[in-house]
Symmetry: C2
Subunit: 157 residues, 2 copies
């Protein structure tokens, strides 16, 4: 099943195939799933999924009702992902989707009263996750910056 290193096939000339556990990409992949699981008990009290929570976070921190395109750039998601997601949040009564009068191509996303009020009920979550992470705030911030740098470099290439 696997190719063992031999004198004629040392690791230095023919690299062993990396197991998932050795791969940077797998650590990220599995960490995202673990993160989603960690958020789940908090978010299901609010009836949100993790991607829905990210959309709501973007809206809570926005200065003005953003367009689908702006959310798409901020969250790095395609409209084919965002549109159904936003429709579900609209169906829950958390936001409205309206064509912009200035530019009818754009759709503006506005929080409803319910959507705005939900914010306060999420205030504790970040702290819970941070505590569960077993890492200090400094470590978490450093990790975030490293991971963001990796992501930006991958997007550029």
């Amino acid at each position: 099943m696997t190719r063992s290193p031999t004198p004629s096939d040392p690791e230095t000339t023919v690299p062993q195939p990396l197991s998932p556990q050795d791969m940077v990409c797998f650590s990220l992949y599995s960490a995202v799933h673990a993160m989603s699981q960690a958020y789940r008990p908090h978010l299901e009290k609010l009836g949100l999924t993790y991607p829905q929570y990210l959309v709501m976070s973007a809206l809570w921190s926005a200065e003005a009702p953003p367009t689908v395109g702006l959310l798409s750039r901020q969250l790095q998601l395609e409209s084919s992902t965002l549109t159904p997601l936003l429709k579900r949040l609209e169906a829950m009564g958390l936001l409205t989707r309206r064509r912009d009068a200035e530019d009818e191509r754009q759709v503006r996303i506005t929080l409803t009263e319910d959507g705005q009020q939900m914010r306060d009920r999420t205030a504790h979550i970040a702290g819970c996750i941070a505590a569960q992470s077993g890492m200090s705030v400094e470590e978490l911030l450093a990790l975030r910056d490293q991971v963001s740098r990796l992501r930006d470099n991958l997007r550029k290439g």
Copy 2:
């Protein structure tokens, strides 16, 4: 839309809601998508998706044909995710799924000749991604270990 800090509501007592860009979880979330995109051009030459590539990597590095359960633990995916994934790889002729004679509950996954041979065609990919990451090998390994630690702590909690 957003609550600005005021003298009576300073950031130190009522934390501003974090924007996605400030959140550790979002950096991971978006980095995984960027990583998947970075792999895409390499993998589509092989007809694989990124999760399929992870499964194949696990199989290439396995000592003996693993069961679905072992793959599930290694990749941290549920059987409801793995079973259809493995069926697609089987339909592509890359592996076989057979009930274990010793324990009929288990299903053993064995690479076909085609599945084994595909490994050599993936040897260059890790290097391409590493180069694209704009990070040194040392940085990547340190990042992997930090992210793995975070993941393991989240799973424990």
